[in-house]
């Protein structure tokens, strides 16, 4: 930076040429009328703060007897006059333009080779509103927004301890997206924290517009169909993860926060599981695990059994399936794939279309196509039932990304079943199982706590024990800590009625 204000201004003006939202205000401050310059970008700064606080404070300097001219006076202004909280000194033109682009106001002063960065970030964003993708019946309703600071504030409101650390990274040469990693010091595994930092620091990209950019660049096995990083837009879910020792990665500009490390079973957990009584939560989880199998295997099983292993069907069922298939023009496989593709198309259409149109699509698709296809004798009613059941089952998986993985694998299973029957399905399952067991998410086995088996961690897997029994944090996530920090609450907290003789 030069100490000449005019020179600096020219440099910045060339940098910000053709940027209509770039604004500067020249003013003279102090009794000596030293030229000064305020630079900011309209829209991402809080106009009111600029006008009322910064300009006023600068104008007020005139009333004091202070010498403003001189090369070190930028510090004096910062220390004595600015009625602002977030003020730092910067010294290069790049820093000035960075500051301006991230919503701060830069104050330049004649004769000073340094500038002041005044935090006035004021972007009008969405308010905290209910999470759309992870709705619950019981539990907090708030969801993250697009603003990083709001999001970290929502988290801080839940975890009120200085051991909740938020570390800042800036990713993307052009987007300069702020990314924060949040973890609970002393609970999260230091190795995982170090690994997260290492992987994030290796990211060298042009832009980061959503947390998925980061997810794809830090996951363990990029070619696996299974998601190895969870994401959530619920502050309570992120807070719960952090309290168990997970690391959250906040990205500015998106409500979706990444959570690492993750185990497969957690994709089948919903945050509501922890807000219902454990008996209900456990039963719902059992149903969900059943749905997972149904969503993955039902069409394949139908094909395998009805075209290879008819002997396994109850006789009356065989007769009704045969009667339903009487006169069907295509083989069962083609029928199932046709209906599955139709279903996928309907689902995709339903997501993209505006809500009122979406309903029409589901009516046309579900009722008209389903019914008409059967009546036109193009597909057998059994196939429609199977596909519908599979569709419903796949909605039973709480995690959207995990359900996507299952959707893809379902088609693989269908092909295997159509060519090799149950034997093919078994092969497919074996390969899938082997893959699941070899996966790691930031060093944590993906299939834990089943493989490697850990009885204590089973407390929160398929079953969900009551809160009074959840004495320890999950061992594989909050590992390498001494036992005291793994314990999160007193043991034996089971409520009892008072003794009768008391």
């Amino acid at each position: 930076m030069s100490s000449s204000l005019v020179e600096n201004l020219t440099t910045l003006q060339t940098t910000f040429a053709n940027c209509t939202d770039f604004a500067y205000r020249e003013l003279k401050i102090g009794q000596e009328q030293v030229p000064a310059l305020l630079l900011y970008v309209i829209g991402i700064t809080d106009e009111q703060t600029v006008n009322e606080d910064i300009l006023k404070s600068l104008v007020n300097i005139r009333r004091s007897t202070l010498e403003v001219s001189g090369s070190n006076n930028i510090k004096t202004i910062k220390d004595l006059f600015l009625e602002m909280g977030n003020v730092t000194e910067i010294s290069t033109i790049e820093e000035v333009s960075d500051a301006v682009l991230t919503g701060s106001v830069a104050l330049l002063l004649e004769g000073n080779a340094r500038a002041l960065k005044i935090g006035t970030k004021g972007f009008v964003g969405r308010l905290v509103s209910e999470s759309v993708t992870e709705a619950v019946v019981r539990g907090p309703r708030e969801g993250f927004t697009e603003s990083l600071r709001t999001n970290t504030a929502l988290l801080r409101r839940k975890i009120k301890t200085p051991t909740l650390k938020l570390e800042k990274f800036v990713l993307g040469q052009t987007t300069k997206t702020e990314v924060n990693i949040a973890y609970l010091e002393g609970t999260a595994n230091p190795k995982v924290i170090a690994e997260v930092k290492r992987r994030i620091s290796l990211i060298d990209v042009d832009s980061v517009l959503e947390s998925a950019y980061i997810e794809e660049m830090i996951e363990d096995e990029p070619f696996s169909v299974f998601p190895q990083i969870d994401h959530s837009e619920r502050p309570d879910k992120v807070a719960a993860g952090i309290l168990e020792g997970q690391v959250a990665i906040f990205t500015d500009g998106t409500p979706f926060v990444l959570i690492v490390p993750i185990m497969m079973a957690q994709f089948l957990h919903s945050s509501e599981d922890y807000y219902d009584r454990s008996i209900y939560a456990t039963s719902i989880r059992v149903v969900r695990f059943f749905f997972l199998n149904l969503a993955l295997l039902l069409p394949a099983l139908y094909i395998a059994i009805s075209t290879f292993h008819q002997g396994l069907l109850p006789t009356s069922l065989l007769i009704s399936i045969t009667a339903a298939r009487e006169g069907a023009p295509f083989p069962t496989v083609i029928e199932v794939i046709f209906m599955e593709v139709t279903f996928e198309a309907l689902r995709e259409a339903g997501i993209r279309l505006p809500k009122p149109v979406g309903q029409a699509v589901s009516i046309v698709g579900g009722l008209v196509i389903g019914q008409a296809a059967v009546q036109a004798n193009m597909v057998s009613p059994t196939t429609v039932i199977v596909v519908a059941l599979t569709g419903i089952a796949s909605f039973g998986i709480p995690s959207y990304s995990f359900a996507l993985a299952i959707r893809i694998l379902r088609f693989g299973m269908i092909l295997l079943a159509a060519s090799l029957g149950l034997f093919g399905m078994m092969l497919g399952l074996l390969v899938m199982q082997a893959h699941l067991e070899s996966l790691r998410s930031f060093g944590v086995p993906y299939f834990a706590p089943l493989a490697p088996f850990n009885l204590k961690d089973m407390k929160d897997s398929v079953v969900r024990l009551p809160w009074w029994a959840m004495g320890e944090r999950p061992r594989l996530i909050a590992k390498n800590n001494n036992n005291n920090t793994r314990q999160r609450q007193k043991f034996f907290l089971k409520p009892d009625p008072p003794d009768e003789d008391r």
Binding site: T307, F308, G311, T315, L318, I321, A323, T332, L416, L427
Partner: protein, 406 residues
């Protein structure tokens, strides 16, 4: 591994359900003196069961019967494909019916075929008939669209509550390989029950009855006894029931006996029915100097079902005791009669004596095994029977005793 397995698919088992004919039952007959086997199969046809949406599965026959002949069982099945448009699948076969002539001339040559074929299930029922298997399989059964399913249900019901002991074909052949080489199957018959009832009623009312004649009914009430792969005789209904008591258990059967309470003078002798809730039969051989004596102990827990006109005071323990005693006596007589039939008439050990001796005294069995055929008809036995009446139903007093209405 998955990729390789695609290359190795030599055996392509793929078949759509609508290209498959599910055989529900097979029947086997033989012309006496000839080696040729006549095969009758009953195939479930889906058309009868709501082929399209209009009827909603209204009535109609839902099966087809196909006939074929061949020098062996498998050849006969192969020959079926000359008339069937669909692939024959035996996986859903429920039962195997043996015709009378086949059963009497011996089933040695079909045994291997039945047991070797992968598609026959070990749990298929086996039946014998006193007619030909073809007649049985062509017979409709009331309330059922596919007769094989009806027969399957009848036999399944027998398994827990019946009078006839059904047998699975694997058990049947296993028993034929056991020490006594004796086994049994239920006997399917075609009887004109409708005609019998009608003629009796006509006799009673003295005029022709205004009823439509119905075809013959398929009934299963007797048991065919096989010895060394040949049918040697038939046990009648009562013996069939006692046969079940001996070989299986008395559970589920019912007993009707003539009973007269001695204490009361006004009550006449009448029929009393008991339902056997639970029971157990043990057969133990006892060896003494005089030879082997079979000791048969049957314990029965029953409930009173019906007292007819007999005045049974169920609140009187003495009377219950007497009823128990008389029931036991009746059942004992029946058992003795059946054992006698087996020993004297059929000369085949269908009551399981040989197996018990073999199990209790293997050495002794080895000694007598050679002339078991001579020993069995003269074997001593002792039957004892204990009956306990657990409940007497919802009435305390027989209905005919006048009671003030409440």
């Amino acid at each position: 591994m998955v990729c390789i397995s695609f290359l190795l698919t030599g055996c392509w088992d793929y078949v759509e359900v609508d290209h498959m004919a599910s055989v529900m039952a097979i029947g086997l007959d033989r012309i006496p003196g000839s080696e040729i086997i006549l095969l009758t199969v009953q195939i479930a046809s889906p058309e009868g069961k709501g082929a399209s949406n209009q009827t909603g599965g209204g009535g109609g026959v839902a099966y087809t019967v196909m006939n074929c002949e061949g020098k062996s069982l498998s050849e006969a099945i192969r020959n079926l494909s000359t008339q069937s448009t669909r692939r024959i699948s035996l996986a859903h076969c429920k039962l195997i019916v043996l015709g009378k002539d086949l059963a009497e001339t011996g089933i040695g040559d079909i045994r291997d075929g039945l047991k070797r074929d992968r598609e026959f299930r070990r749990t298929d029922w086996i039946l014998t008939t006193d007619k030909t298997a073809k007649e049985i399989l062509e017979k409709d059964i009331e309330l059922e669209k596919v007769p094989a399913r009806g027969l399957d249900l009848i036999l399944q019901k027998f398994e827990t509550t019946g009078r006839v002991l059904p047998i699975k074909f694997s058990d049947f052949f296993a028993q034929l390989n056991q020490e006594a080489q004796v086994s049994f199957t239920p006997l399917a018959q075609l009887e004109d029950i409708d005609k019998q009832v009608t003629s009796q009623l006509e006799k009673a009312v003295g005029r022709p009855l205004d009823s439509e004649g119905k075809p013959k009914t398929l009934t299963i009430g007797k048991t065919a006894i096989f010895k060394s792969l040949r049918m040697v005789g038939v046990l009648n209904e009562d013996d069939t029931r006692a046969h079940k008591w001996l070989v299986d258990s008395p559970k589920g059967s019912s007993v009707t006996l003539a009973y007269a309470p001695q204490a009361q003078t006004k009550g006449d002798k009448g029929e009393v029915s008991l339902n056997i809730k639970d029971g157990k039969t043990t057969i133990t051989p006892q060896i003494s100097e005089g030879g082997i004596t079979m000791k048969i102990v049957m314990t029965v827990k029953a409930s009173l079902n019906e007292t007819g006109t007999v005045d049974v005071n169920v609140l009187n323990p003495k009377e219950i005791e007497q009823l128990q005693h008389q029931t036991a006596e009746t059942m004992k007589l029946q058992l003795e009669h059946t054992i006698n039939t087996a020993q004297k008439e059929l000369k085949s050990d269908c009551v399981g004596f040989a197996e018990n001796i073999h199990n209790y005294y293997p050495l002794e069995w080895k000694r007598i095994k050679g002339n078991w055929a001579d020993i069995f008809p003269t074997l001593d036995y002792q039957v004892s029977c204990e009956v306990e009446i657990l409940s007497t139903g919802m009435l305390n007093n027989p209905t005919h005793r006048s009671e003030p209405e409440e």
